[in-house]
């Protein structure tokens, strides 16, 4: 399959002072017709990567090709092929919901009647017909994001970029948006999304790149990532007693692969089968164990393993 998006060794340094390196040599291929996730914490460089693909940010070096077109050289043509929904709600606040869709179509050269027809179609499909006369300021976050998604695909792009599409949404709105995105993909649209929700990357994306500090730390299908990065479960333990003593008590316990200090205690990476959990707990219990959280092997634990940090930190 052809690549819908190709980044080759893309670097982006924002002018200082001090200069900030947002992307530090990112290369990736997004296969057409798939959903590709950039997973990482805030400030990892995901939005910059989307910005470069969508002609809003100029790369310092490297190349970006979207829909077969070099973004730096053919930005106008690229814009014809892409749909973009930003993380923030950028709906036109002087226009109603229906007008936001209608004028978007007009900006993309649809004839008046076609634009009207397309608007009606989108209002129905995205279940926002009853809000068509509302101003964007009156919409809930979930609805606004849905309007924004409808607007992003109104001109029938081939590649859709979604920057943190579900950030700040309630769980129900999030699920509804996932369904819409999955449906778009099944119609042949390529989707590139950024997220810091590992469930989103895990359930929605065919491939995921884990990004941190402007670099791709790991890339693959969610299953591959979970297996290759060790398939660890993470035990977060809050300790009242001496951390160093508790840490020493874990030396040589079978199934424990790594122990890290945290603010309130210890973080222990254990083999995914979970058999090590009771052994770890029994060793640490006498050193003031006050709380215990087990995170099953997931993209979250992959991220913790790769960076030593939580996604939400």
């Amino acid at each position: 399959m052809a690549a819908a998006v190709q980044l080759h060794d893309v670097r982006k340094v924002y002018d200082g002072p001090p200069p900030v390196t947002a992307l530090d040599g990112v290369s990736l291929d997004v296969e057409a017709g798939t959903i590709y996730g950039l997973l990482g914490p805030n400030g990892a460089g995901k939005t910059t990567a989307i910005g470069i693909c969508t002609t809003k940010v100029g790369a310092t070096s490297g190349s970006a090709v979207v829909a077969g077109l070099d973004v730096a050289r053919n930005s106008v043509a690229v814009r014809r092929h892409i749909g973009v929904a930003a993380q923030a709600i950028t709906l036109d606040r002087s226009c109603t919901v229906a007008e936001n869709l209608y004028y978007h179509c007009r900006y993309f050269r649809l004839h008046r009647d076609d634009a009207r027809r397309r608007t009606k179609e989108l209002l129905e499909r995205f279940l926002i017909a009853d809000k068509q006369a509302s101003m964007p300021g009156q919409l809930s976050g979930g609805l606004a994001q849905r309007v924004q998604l409808a607007r992003a695909i109104a001109h029938r792009p081939t590649v859709l970029f979604l920057d943190e599409p579900t950030a700040g949404l309630d769980p129900q709105s999030r699920l509804a948006l996932w369904d819409l995105v999955a449906a778009l993909r099944s119609e042949g649209l390529t989707v590139v999304l950024t997220t810091h929700y590992m469930e989103e990357a895990d359930q929605l994306c065919q491939r995921v790149a884990i990004v941190d500090h402007g670099r791709i730390l790991a890339e693959g299908t969610p299953e591959q990532l979970k297996q290759e990065s060790g398939g660890f479960a993470v035990l977060d333990m809050a300790l009242a007693g001496n951390h160093a003593v508790a840490r020493a008590a874990l030396d040589g316990v079978a199934g424990v692969s790594e122990v890290q200090d945290t603010e309130h205690g210890l973080r222990v990476l254990v083999s995914a089968d979970g058999t090590a959990v009771p052994r770890v707990v029994s060793r640490v219990a006498e050193h003031g164990l006050t709380d215990l959280k087990v995170t099953e092997p997931s993209l979250e634990t992959v991220f913790i393993r790769l960076t030593g940090r939580d996604l939400r930190e």
């Binding site: 924002y14 910059t48 910005g51 969508t54 002609t55 809003k56 940010v57 100029g58 106008v76 043509a77 814009r79 014809r80 892409i82 973009v84 930003a86 923030a88 709600i89 950028t90 709906l91 036109d92 606040r93 002087s94 226009c95 007008e99 936001n100 004028y103 978007h104 179509c105 007009r106 900006y107 993309f108 050269r109 607007r151």
Partner: protein
């Protein structure tokens, strides 16, 4: 579809959107446009003559009301450009990033601010048309309008409205939403009072340093240019100088505004 024709289609879309917003907000738009010229004429040419106060009299036998007409048409254009271009743009480029959808349209980036300027100029002409009957009919004293050349009037109207709209674009891209109040105080107020609205430029010969200083003010050339076209019996700048300076200032402001716009939307 050729590139130029497809850009035209997008620009028509941008204008259709602006026109829709204008139609929805016509009342606040009209109020913002009309208020300053209306009150100026009302106080200086209606109230003051009736209260027995002496009005400033311009050179020759022209009434103050006549002196005011071209200047106030120009003021209406400037207020319109601020209301129609600068304020919305400042907000759309600000925290809400509302401009994003238009910036992502498949047209060269400069098209968006240029379309804004064109639509702002159109609204400026509209504002001039709205204010003209008010400021010529309201004064208690006579108003002498004499259009010697319709071609000249058309030229000055186009150049003036373009200058006003490009000033709006420049200010809209340069001023953050939280600085709008400051902009009114330190940019607009001096432009108004030192814009040869209430006096012809020639009468400033009594204060040579001021006569030189105000030449940086685009409103001076708008007022004087419209003076040439509407009230040629009041002393005025040469038509070539007024038209040339308007074209120059409008070009510079447009270029600076487009640059500012592109800088604000692309990292």
């Amino acid at each position: 579809m050729s590139d130029r024709r497809s850009i035209t289609a997008s620009v028509l879309g941008l204008w259709a959107r602006d026109f829709r917003v204008l139609r929805r907000e016509w009342l606040p738009f009209a109020l913002r446009t009309v208020m300053n010229p209306f009150l100026t004429v009302f106080v200086f040419t209606f109230v003051l003559p009736r209260t027995g106060q002496h009005l400033p009299v311009a050179a020759g036998a022209m009434t103050f009301a006549t002196v005011l007409v071209p200047g106030l048409v120009a003021v209406a254009m400037v207020f319109t450009s601020i209301a129609a271009v600068a304020l919305p743009l400042s907000i759309e480029l600000g925290a809400t990033r509302e401009i994003e959808d238009r910036v992502l349209a498949p047209i060269p980036l400069a098209t968006v601010p240029l379309a804004k300027v064109a639509f702002g100029a159109f609204q400026g002409l509209l504002a001039g048309a709205v204010i003209f009957p008010i400021i010529t009919a309201l004064p208690a004293t006579a108003v002498h309008i004499r259009v010697a050349s319709w071609g000249m009037l058309l030229l000055m109207l186009i150049l003036s409205s373009w200058t006003a709209a490009s000033l709006g674009l420049f200010l809209g891209t340069a001023v953050r939403p939280q600085q709008i109040g400051l902009m009114f105080a330190v940019v607009l107020t001096p432009i108004m009072f030192l814009g040869c609205v209430y006096y012809p430029w020639a009468s400033l010969s009594a204060i040579p340093w001021l006569q030189g200083f105000v030449l940086i003010n685009p409103l001076v050339y708008m007022s004087e240019g419209l003076r040439i076209a509407l009230t040629p019996d009041v002393p005025h700048l040469g038509a070539g100088i007024a038209a040339g300076m308007l074209a120059l200032l409008a070009s510079l402001l447009t270029a600076a505004g487009v640059r500012g716009f592109v800088r604000r939307v692309v990292a």
